[in-house]
């Protein structure tokens, strides 16, 4: 579905050039859920914006469904860290914004908008204004807005990172359910190992500056998965430990980490 072939991206700034991504290759299958994880500034957002067609690569190519991405496409939708809801539009109207922007008929999609709001438990809030909603509810509305156009590809840039821990878990659970239902090919950028392991089929670990693919880890745990009671405790904790090591690992102290294999990663919850 998504093919990223030898993609590099360098930004020109006043203080010289910044190499954000170098030679990234990635193949994502139809309906697959890929999490991208990496340190701050390693080029995760850049990768997502390249796939969205918001910026173009300095080298290489991104293909979606076989065609090169030049500009934003209607079958690709994006969700950001901030909900970015228009404050003067009701919840329902916000969800229908892409429809209006495309010049499609509102009436033909209103039913679907209500259905999506229903899926995230916001049926009773559809005529409210965004400021009357909590942060978690606003991000749910943004999710519905990203889904209204029935995208084949869903790009999510740390969508839950501005929320509190409990709300994050709740939303991650909902996203898992929605992905099982709708099967959109998803790239999900996150800082949270937990989220990545809960949601993804594969986790792509990027190394810092310039961003390169460090490792791709398969998460072969059957769905539905859950944060709290996992029947696959051993797998979960081994993947979490792997990811933790990869992320903490600064290139040269690899050996130091390898010398202490029994060390349990800090902050592990399983």
């Amino acid at each position: 579905m998504i093919k990223i072939v030898g993609v590099s991206r360098t930004f020109q700034t006043r203080k010289g050039s910044v190499e954000a991504l170098r030679n990234v290759d990635l193949d994502i299958g139809d309906g697959e859920f890929v999490a991208v994880i990496g340190r701050s500034g390693c080029g995760k957002s850049t990768l997502l914006r390249l796939v969205a067609g918001l910026i173009s690569p300095t080298a290489g190519e991104v293909l979606i469904g076989g065609t090169p991405v030049g500009k934003p496409r209607r079958d690709v939708s994006m969700m950001f860290q901030q909900p970015a809801l228009l404050p003067w539009r009701s919840v329902l109207d916000n969800v229908l914004l892409p429809i209006e922007m495309f010049g499609w008929r509102r009436s033909r999609h209103a039913e679907r908008a209500r259905h999506l709001l229903d899926m995230v438990g916001l049926t009773d809030f559809q005529s409210r204004l965004p400021h009357e909603l909590s942060g978690g509810m606003q991000q749910r509305v943004a999710l519905c807005r990203a889904l209204i156009q029935q995208p084949r590809v869903l790009l999510m840039d740390e969508p839950f990172s501005a929320l509190d821990a409990l709300t994050r878990e709740e939303l991650a659970g909902e996203l898992q359910r929605i992905h099982t239902d709708l099967k959109a090919t998803t790239i999900f950028v996150t800082h949270s190992i937990q989220e990545a392991v809960l949601l993804a089929d594969r986790v792509v670990v990027l190394s810092a500056r310039p961003g390169r693919i460090r490792k791709i880890i398969d998460v072969a745990i059957p769905r539905p998965r859950s944060f709290s009671r996992s029947t696959h405790l051993a797998e979960v904790s081994s993947i979490v430990a792997d990811l933790h090591e990869l992320l903490l690992d600064i290139e040269d102290n690899r050996d130091a980490l390898a010398a202490a294999p029994g060390r349990a990663p800090a902050g592990l919850r399983s």
Partner: protein
Amino acid sequence: MSVSSDTRSISVIRARFSAAGLPTLGAASALLAWWTATTVFNVSSFFLPSPADIMTAFRKQPEYLLRESWVTMTETLIGFGIAAASGLLIAMVLTASSVIQRATLPLLVALNSIPKVAIAPLLVVWMGFGQGPKITLVLLICFFPVVVSTMSGLTSTPADFGELARSLSASWWRVYFKVRLPWALPQIFVGLKVAISLAVIGAVVAEISNPDRGLGSVIVLSGQSFDTPLAFTALVLLALMSVMLFYVICAVERLLLPWARAISA
């Protein structure tokens, strides 16, 4: 239960009081202080008339005063209306492209720094008597605040919305009318509120420099006949008019933009 509903009704009463009660209380105590000062120190009404003197002056010729108020009011409203419409339109044209904006903004700022009040006598030379020059002065005074605030509203669309619109590959005009313009509305209202306060001043200044009709000319004429209470009556009517027009705009804003206060707080 009853305790919580009690505290709720108390807080509602408190909110109502601070919305309407406090301003009334403030005005009433100022009035009382004024009245006490004029009676206690026995100030002559020629020097500073008391509130009672002003009521008397108004009762003597209410029709005349209201008619002149209406003249000033129509000049204010027509000038303000034209300024608001043309200011909005011009700001929209200027912000359509950053090239036009950069080319014209310094000129606008320069024009705005001309003290418009100084143009009033010139307007008489150019346009003669009647309401024409007065409306023109109101227009000139109101125009810039509307243009400047509309421009700043139209150019302050949050980056989040820009990115969202681009990811939807929305056409320029759809983004303009569905995102940029609605976002600018609270700013536009800031401009309108400044403009309406200036509009009344503009009308009066124009009337004073060319006194034929309106409350400005009432002030000039009463000054010439040493009728201080009448001059004060005209001032009070002007103040009432200003306050009323200002609050009408505030009310329209609240009605149209219930979200604006919530996100700015």
